[in-house]
């Protein structure tokens, strides 16, 4: 036994020594989501293949954003790879802060990346970040409760059906809420949900002259519908529920429906964590008959800050982590349901993966979101649940705080919209749009 382990160490050492001339140590900043933590656990596979070692800086989403933004705007160089999203990538790419990913290797097959994802992670046709996983949003619902309520979920429901079904499924005595939705403040939390929802009600953030649109009827309709439905059928305290809180409620069987990120599908159908794993159905996010659905589009992607000394090694890592080989590696260890979804076309052509119950609906949802044309009336910005301008994150966080105060019953919808209108216009003025 001992001899074998000594031999194994010796081999490992010689392997590393063999590639020592090129071996680098790269620093990667990432978010503490499940798929990234899994990637962190598989780093050894990368090291044994390339000789490069990796140091991880894993942070909670808000801290990560603050950390990488400070570093990129000051050209700090603290990280060789940053995990960023569809919101940051085009802005940073336009500023020349990211290394263009236009020379990835042949076997990486960059054309295999889902066009919707590649589009959202590019600026002027150049890819600046490779998607690690991509998502849209969809309805996850309890088939058993739906049946009990005597209803049948269509593939592409409307909001009025969802509201009716939510009311029918609600059973407060048994702690079952017909619908769970995000209400938590933050542009990436409740802000993302209400913005995507407002698209289907014909609302938009800005008109073509960058004037805030919170004084228009569609926004009022959106909030009135949302608050009305949540008060009828939502969980108590939904004003502080974000992705994670709702996930936990759904897994504990306390939600009839949940409209959220498609990646949640693998969590709610995983019998280890979810008490309702075998009775979950999926449907497209609702619409309102205006031609736009209320699903968003997002990707967590890996990008290289311009100016890093270790560009070569960083590219090798990105090719490893977002490759089809990586997907197969995860599939072999954790099963197909747990591979990072939504990034590659070939994944959705793989018969093994298409057996996963939520695969098709995830793809359909992703394909039905169009960041370049997300609102009913024309808008000057790109993005479904956000507007890809640098000011948006700050503005939308404040706006969503006003909305959350409505959800908590602390102010009226009109008050919140009035404040949102004023603060948005003010911030846009400060930034020089108006």
């Amino acid at each position: 036994m001992k001899l074998r382990s000594v031999l194994r160490t010796a081999t490992a050492v010689s392997l590393i020594a063999g590639s020592a001339a090129y071996a680098e140590n790269i620093v990667i900043a990432t978010v503490n989501n499940g798929d990234m933590i899994r990637m962190q656990g598989l780093t050894d596979d990368f090291t044994s293949k390339t000789g490069h070692t990796v140091e991880w800086v894993t942070l909670e989403e808000n801290v990560l954003r603050q950390r990488v933004t400070t570093d990129i705007t000051t050209k700090g160089g603290a990280f060789d790879i940053m995990t960023i999203g569809m919101y940051e990538t085009p802005i940073w790419g336009a500023n020349g802060w990211l290394v263009p990913l236009d020379d990835l290797s042949e076997e990486y097959n960059v054309d295999d990346i889902l066009p919707a994802m590649a589009g959202g992670l590019s600026h002027d046709g150049t890819l600046y970040a490779a998607p690690f996983y991509g998502e849209s949003s969809m309805i996850m619902y309890r088939t058993d409760l739906m049946e009990k309520a005597g209803l049948e979920m269509p593939e592409a429901p409307t909001w009025s059906f969802v509201r009716e079904a939510a009311a029918a499924m609600t059973d407060r005595d048994n702690d079952i809420n017909g619908i769970c939705l995000r209400g938590k403040a933050g542009w990436g939390e409740g802000g993302a949900f209400i913005t995507a929802m407002s698209n289907s009600f014909g609302a938009r953030w800005f008109d073509m002259d960058w004037n805030a649109q919170f004084d228009t009827q569609p926004w009022k309709d959106t909030l009135e519908f949302y608050v009305g439905m949540m008060n009828e059928s939502g969980p108590a305290g939904y004003a502080t529920n974000g992705f994670n809180e709702n996930l936990s409620l759904f897994q504990q069987g306390k939600c009839g429906m949940w409209i959220d990120a498609t990646v949640a599908a693998s969590f709610v159908t995983n019998p280890n964590d979810s008490t309702v794993a075998d009775s979950v159905g999926f449907a497209l996010a609702p619409d309102n008959g205006l031609g736009k659905r209320s699903n968003w589009l997002w990707a967590w992607a890996l990008a290289i800050p311009a100016g890093t000394q270790k560009e070569g090694a960083a590219k090798e890592f990105i090719e490893w982590a977002t490759s089809t080989d990586y997907i197969e590696l995860v599939a072999s260890k954790e099963g197909w349901a747990n591979v990072p979804p939504g990034a590659r076309t070939s994944l959705y052509e793989n018969p093994n993966y298409m057996e996963v119950p939520f695969a098709q609906m995830t793809l359909d949802s992703i394909l039905s979101a169009d960041p370049n044309n997300s609102t009913v009336e024309p808008s000057p910005y790109v993005g479904v649940q956000f507007a890809a301008i640098p000011e948006f994150a700050g503005i939308a966080t404040e706006v969503s705080q006003e909305f959350s105060a409505v959800y908590a019953g602390q102010q009226s919808i009109d008050e919140a919209l009035e404040k949102a209108q004023a603060l948005t216009n003010d911030a846009m003025e400060a930034a020089g749009y108006r």
Partner: protein
């Protein structure tokens, strides 16, 4: 009896600390002032030129400004009142003869060692969560509807969390002060038939005034700049945005360094008003 020699030596010895602090204060202060007159947007290429007092007027005219000032003062005031009031009671209690006094004291001071981030996270998730939190289970056990702590009672919850962190500090100082009280004086008063209240009012409380001053001064300095507790619990929603938090939003979330710097200047002004006020009322208490 300072000689000429020791005067100049003293100046030399003081120099490193004064110069360092002067640097630490002046360099950032100058930079803050400089940026506050600039349009400085890191995500739009950085320095976009001078704008005069525009950032200052914009920061104040924002609908969040005055509520943020009020929130800051309410949190500082609320925590001070609670910690000093409960601190006195707790100190009086711990001063009584009992078994295991040392252990109880250890239990009481423990929260002071907990990182602000950790205490925010623990209270938010493990205690105040309306579904799985400890308090929610307690409420349900008594047949009550769980409270939505951080949304419907956001300010009281926040004040409670911060008070939990600072109560040990107040208790410890006040307890030490009480223990140094001359017990014969109390006994004499007791013999004279003074009631418990008048003993407290006329002997104990005056004796504690200096300790209370210290608690007031030190806590105010730290409370004016609390950030982590708000960041991890409410992230500034539900009326918990303090001035410090508002500046954080302007600088890091909105990426408007000029505007945030103007806010920083206002925060310094507010801090100095509070400090001047404090020094007026407590300054003479500190001169031994």
């Amino acid at each position: 009896m300072a000689t000429q020699h020791s005067q100049s030596a003293a100046r030399i010895m003081m120099a490193p600390a004064v110069i360092l602090l002067l640097g630490w204060m002046l360099v950032p202060l100058t930079m803050t002032l400089y940026f506050s007159f600039k349009k400085y947007l890191p995500l739009r290429g950085g320095d976009l030129g001078w704008v005069g007092f525009e950032n200052y007027t914009r920061f104040v005219s924002s609908s969040s400004f005055w509520p943020a000032v009020a929130t800051t003062l309410i949190i500082v005031g609320g925590v001070l009142v609670i910690t000093i009031f409960l601190g006195v009671l707790l100190a009086l209690l711990l001063d009584q003869p009992m078994w295991g006094q040392g252990v109880v004291r250890i239990l009481v001071i423990a929260p002071f060692f907990v990182m602000p981030t950790v205490s925010g996270l623990v209270w938010k998730n493990m205690f105040m969560d309306p579904t799985n939190g400890f308090l929610a289970y307690m409420w349900r056990a008594f047949g009550a509807e769980p409270v939505q702590w951080l949304s419907q009672a956001s300010m009281p919850s926040l004040i409670m969390i911060v008070s939990w962190q600072w109560l040990p500090f107040a208790t410890l100082i006040l307890l030490t002060a009480i223990q140094s009280l001359d017990s014969e004086q109390i006994e004499a008063a007791e013999m004279d038939g003074a009631s418990w209240f008048s003993r407290f009012r006329f002997i104990i409380l005056p004796h504690l005034s200096r300790a209370i001053t210290v608690v007031l001064l030190i806590q105010t300095i730290f409370l004016l700049s609390i950030f982590a507790e708000i960041f991890v619990t409410t992230a500034g929603s539900f009326g918990t945005k303090t001035l410090t938090y508002l500046i954080f939003q302007r600088v890091l979330e909105s990426q408007n360094v000029g505007l945030g710097s103007a806010g920083g200047v206002y925060a310094i002004i507010l801090a100095n008003i509070v400090a001047a006020f404090l020094i007026r009322i407590v300054g003479k208490n500190l001169d031994a």
